[in-house]
Symmetry: C2
């Protein structure tokens, strides 16, 4: 946790921005796995953690926007619970540690919320238990049901995004810790992975290291010889000599901040010439993107530039053809990189995704593309000093997608479909780093 002054200052800023109403930031509860008593590892809500610090279930924060008064709500534990859970600090102590007042029990909070229903401002819920809670307590705010972001306060969402988008030096320091653990995980995986192993042996090594570091994984690791399947969480394949192994894995520091790193290497031998040709294109796209990242540059521009680098590199190999600018405008690069170049990172690996991807990554000057591939870019808007983002270009050969484009003659002027046959079993390569935007450029975290 940061010092109390950090949280006090954040809440003061939020109250100033929101101006009126009761800001309600519930912390997360435990999440049942296979029965109520067997829960997943506790993960605090990131907004609660940003403004209230504590990584403990069943707390809630309220901020009276007009007066700025902050209250922490929760139940103190009984002696019976002490036997099972050990001595725990009282809610009053927890409140003092973040410069807030003790509010009262959760039952009392319940009454307060119901009383002030129309003045309560909250963020979009993403867990079912929270949706149910909000619906029960604030029914009047949901006249048309609980659709996407229904009832959530837009002004509050904006204010939170504005604050959380700009990382302080103490936040960047925590992210560097997460990235360092993540890099250690990747280094160990590369040393350890060998022919004959199963993917989940490598996955276990990685996840164990994240936990040994005092946190956990920031997201489910991708550890696959089928890198062309973008969100592949199957880890049952046996690694063979020469297989490309794509690992997308990041640790979450004890403080909750995420790392998000991807590496791709060959099992038991150096990259073959064919693999290295593709690797170098991806690596070039990554290095160029990082070199070009600075305040005032749109991340959408970096994405398009990376697309051009990828298209041109593949053209050098004879896999694509035609004018690179026209090809990228037509979206031809997306056959090989059907995802975005990167996204914000912070307390969440896709930072603030619960608040709405477009509100976080786009604004009135930069609208999301509707083109296949680029439409998946989470962050398009101008970079600002203090942003922390991922840079993660990739090249994949996805047989089902290639077959479809070929059959439907999509971007047929730019793709040498016949040449791609030799790459149907190639897999995919992605390389990803995390950077902070500085006053004049960027730096690796």
């Amino acid at each position: 946790m940061f010092p109390a002054t950090t949280y006090t200052a954040r809440r003061k800023q939020l109250a100033t921005d929101v101006q009126s109403g009761l800001i309600f930031l519930p912390g997360n509860a435990e999440a049942p796995m296979n029965y109520a008593g067997n829960t997943y590892p506790f993960r605090q809500d990131s907004n609660f953690r940003y403004f209230a610090g504590h990584n403990i279930p069943d707390l809630a924060l309220t901020i009276d926007a007009a007066s700025g008064a902050s209250r922490l709500w929760g139940d103190d534990i009984s002696l019976n619970h002490v036997v099972w859970m050990g001595e725990q600090p009282s809610v009053a102590e927890l409140a003092a540690r973040i410069g807030a007042e003790r509010g009262g029990s959760l039952a009392e909070l319940s009454t307060v919320l119901k009383t002030y229903a129309k003045e309560v401002k909250f963020l979009p819920p993403y867990r079912a238990d929270r949706k149910t809670y909000l619906k029960e307590h604030l029914a009047t705010l949901f006249p048309t049901g609980m659709g996407e972001n229904a009832g959530a306060n837009k002004g509050l969402i904006r204010a939170v995004i504005n604050q959380r988008s700009i990382k302080s030096s103490e936040e960047l320091e925590q992210m560097s810790i997460a990235v360092r653990t993540s890099m250690d995980m990747h280094a160990a995986a590369k040393t350890h992975a060998a022919p004959g192993q199963l993917e989940h042996e490598v996955a276990g090594l990685i996840e164990g290291m994240a936990i040994a570091g005092g946190g956990r994984l920031a997201y489910a690791a991708i550890v696959t010889k089928n890198g062309q399947i973008l969100h592949n969480h199957y880890h049952g394949n046996t690694l063979q000599k020469g297989d490309l192994l794509l690992i997308d894995a990041g640790a979450e520091a004890t403080s909750g901040y995420a790392g998000d790193i991807t590496r791709t290497f060959a099992i038991g031998q150096p990259l073959t010439t064919k693999q290295e040709e593709i690797y170098r294109i991806v690596d070039r796209a990554k290095r160029e993107s990082i070199a070009a990242a600075r305040p005032g540059v749109k991340n959408r521009t970096l994405h398009d530039n990376a697309g051009r680098t990828i298209f041109s590199g593949l053209k050098d190999l004879g896999l694509t053809k035609g004018n690179p600018d026209e090809a990228v405008a037509a979206g031809a690069h997306a056959l090989f990189m059907p995802h975005g170049l990167g996204h914000m990172i912070g307390l969440d690996v896709h930072d603030m995704e619960d608040l709405g991807e477009d509100l976080v990554g786009y604004d009135e000057n930069t609208r999301r593309s509707t083109q296949f591939g680029t439409s998946s870019l989470r962050l398009g808007r101008e970079l600002e000093k203090g942003f922390a983002i991922t840079v993660e270009p990739g090249i994949y050969f996805i047989p089902a997608l290639i077959d479809q484009w070929k059959a439907d003659k999509i971007c047929a002027d730019f793709i040498n479909f016949d040449k791609l046959k030799a790459y149907y079993d190639f897999g995919g390569i992605r390389l990803e780093d995390d950077i902070a935007i500085t006053a004049s450029g960027s730096r690796l975290l």
Copy 2:
């Protein structure tokens, strides 16, 4: 997965037992962690897995109890999803693998459920998203709201408990795999744990091994030098030479079956005489319990016997006094072992806890005790051939509890409170094995 015939036979038995209505067994969905798209590792619902096998989210099984017709419901994925998720078997293929018919899409299931609402029979939901789903689809079954087990069908609960309580040889084999991985985890922890390490370094080693084995942990590991805190998931302490380290951790096999093993050892040196004296009592209680476990014996009897062994052992050390039978009847042993001797284990570490602890662990011949400590015993009833259970006696010195009993003169005739002062910093020792009840006794899994 087991062969299709296993699931067909299980469903046939269930339909026979339940006789009428539409049995509705929804599989689990993904569970959001810090936003909707960042989910916890998927954990299938154990009842769904028992009757439908598949470890895939967003499926549902229905069984027409009268006709026995089984249908698997789910949505096939689109090409766009193939890019992200890879080729997936169709729902029709998944249905065939478990000897069921394809039902239809989830939207179609939704309509069917609403139409047949009053004839739909389901089990108690434990996840909030499932509660919401049931409430929306089967509102007529919840005239008085969604309280504990509201709306769930008692006959179905009984029938499922009856089947799942008796483990087949193929199930016991899977549990042995889970126990073997769990034993490897404990062996590695004992080899690896050393003075200067943090608890979470050992926790990472253990959890990584569970994942490397192809499954995950069956429950959040306890890795603590404060074993007297029974459900202690804080792993931030530094291990020092001579500290007792209590590790309660079990792997879940790829098939979903759980192991649940506890070991306690000293860091960097053998147990001290004082530690060994306590260890031997716990070990004796464990060995005696396993030796006495057989069909027809009540687990409550084993629990009471273990309490007597613990009380008598501590009496030999001068920490307790008086007649052991009277002491156990008064509940004096619970000052040292405030939990139960064990519970059923299977697809859940506390097997079928979602169906109701008392329905699983007690019956008309064995009612749950209301006495502190013994009231926490999850399994009291007569053991039967095919039961799989844990045996986990422990002795803990819990200062807050000792102080309370002393102040309130609880069991003052049986406890030498003054002698306990020398044990305030002792911690706790628990030893736990998993056994299967055989025709004439039991065997270690």
